[in-house]
Amino acid sequence: MPVIEMEQVLIPHVREPNSFTLDFYLAHGGYAALKTALGRTPDEIIEMVKASGLRGRGGAGFPTGMKWQFVDKKIEPRYIVCNADESEPGTFKDHLLMERNPHLLVEGCAIGCYAIGARTAYIYIRGEFHHVQRHLERAIEEAYAAGYLGRDILGSGFDCDVFVHRGAGAYEAGEETALLESLEGKRAQPRNKPPVPAVAGLYGKPSAVNNVETLCNVPIVVSRGVEWYTSIGPEKNGGPKLYCVSGHVKRPGVYEATMNITLRELVEGRAGGVRDGRTLKAVIPGGSSVPILLPDQLDTQASFDGVQRAGSLLGSAAIVVLDDTTCMVWLAENLLHFYRHESCGKCTPCREGTDWLHKILARIERGEGQMSDLDLLASISRNVGGKTLCAFGDAAITPVVTTLKHFRDEYEAHVREGRCTRPAPWRARHLVGAH
């Protein structure tokens, strides 16, 4: 029987008062991992993280130890850049970590810096998380005062600074090279790769860009050990994972589990299932950028590899649950409104394509579409996907491609009847695209 229920390690005390304070964190074993790490060599830490199989929690699932190993150790200075831009629709796990358990991230940043030989970490937090930023900055101040950051940490001779850098409203800043551009004081637009950030990142120096949850896993790997870490969860999908469940469920929230858990256990168990006596229509398993899964796929294992085998992606583990009142044309229109707004404008196929897709979806949703529009949507999508510098283009077309694939009959009904055939009571009364 695979382990699903486990002792919580990422968010064990987040509902307790003062869980964000240094005293609370120290009383629960905090900064012990940093002490352990400073007693090893940096290479040993990288080997440990590699052996743990920790995969990036930001969306791509790339092995963190490999990323750190690729950082060019011949060039100084080097940087850890923490991606706290959490902007993928449906994702809210890093918010909880930073607000209620910020010292875990600070400790992860310090260990990361030690491992790659950096002495500065920047945490790039989205501008809308100003209240979270205050918690994080207070935690950093506490860590400096107690000697866990700053000069000669714990008498080891290792120096480390952690700074918080506030963004100002740009989804694209979550893309690692766009984040680096933004941190350098420019528009958040992606760079061409190669070179990857490990070779030429922040200020052209070797950098590791890691998600908040990823860095929060690092102290756990160090303190619990590789054997424990790999023993929970399926092969190559080890360690604790945070899931964000939202949409039409009874108990939306952040849930910690091993990646043995299935989508059914998350949606029907943890989140209490679909609310108001409705039935499940679809699940988006990894944020708005991934293909939809249908109710008969709920037994899919919610791991990076499990969701991929089912034809989608775990992404940022943002599970959006949709009930039978949801119009799928409306859904595509809602998400393309998002992508059209957030396209950074650097690559023409994405900048123009997202606008065209949104216009066509809005007119179909209003009942002014034609049957030929369905082929037009598919054609535009083909000309955006794979034709942009970053993954945004592929992400943006996914809601269109996936709804056309599974719910083409709804598109056809809109065109045939000249209206939205599923105007849910929770939607705005005004027509889509009216302003």
Binding site: G90, E128, H341
Partner: protein, 200 residues
């Protein structure tokens, strides 16, 4: 940001009865804000002052409400970059205002998880209550209504960000009451982030 003029986020769409400062109006940081900027500059390598452009612009916005051409020139001078470099950034990020806004900017999240929890109704209630459309400021200069994309509080939907503060789990039918509440009690009317168990 947006390249598409008709979108509600576009600066030109924002209408306000409040007067725009003339283009040549000078700007200077208050001594407190200048000291804050100097402290922020310490975080970046000495030859990478440009990194502080976002924090420098936030300081301008907190000081005078929105970002004027004069302020962009002052920021450029402080960071040793060109005014065009600064304007490039201001025009890209959505959280900077280039026109006067109301005392309270109501940023309603409109993306999927909030939308399926009634965000569209929230916007309609607020429009009806204030007599304005998204992107506009009410005649008294108290409220600006903006629809924004995912704020990252999908489990506490629908969510509204009022200036820098959050209001979560809003009842769409009662959204109009938030306006009265803000008028009466200021930011004390807001729920804050509901993770804060200490304050519940």
């Amino acid at each position: 940001m947006s390249f598409h003029a008709k979108m509600a986020y576009d600066a030109t769409f924002q209408k306000s009865a409040r007067e725009l400062a003339p283009d040549d109006a000078p700007f200077a940081y208050t001594p407190e804000n200048r000291a804050r900027l100097d402290a922020i500059l310490e975080r970046y390598p000495a030859d990478r002052k440009r990194s502080a452009v976002l924090p420098a612009l936030y300081l301008v916005q907190y000081q005078q409400g929105y970002i004027t051409p004069g302020a962009m020139r002052a920021v450029a001078e402080a960071l040793a970059i060109t005014p065009a470099d600064v304007e490039d950034v201001v025009s890209y990020y959505t959280m900077f205002h280039t026109r006067p806004v109301g005392k309270y900017v109501l940023n309603v999240c409109r993306t999927l998880s909030c939308a399926v929890n009634g965000a569209g109704r929230v916007v309609e209630e607020l429009c009806a209550k204030l007599g304005i459309r998204p992107g506009e400021t009410d005649p008294t200069g108290t409220f600006t209504l903006v629809e924004v994309e995912c704020l990252g509080a999908c489990d506490r939907a629908p969510v509204v960000m009022v200036n820098d503060a959050w209001h979560e789990c809003l009842d769409p039918a009662a959204a109009g009451r938030l306006v009265d509440d803000l008028r009466a009690r200021g930011e004390a009317a807001l729920s804050g982030c509901l993770h804060k168990v200490e304050e519940q």
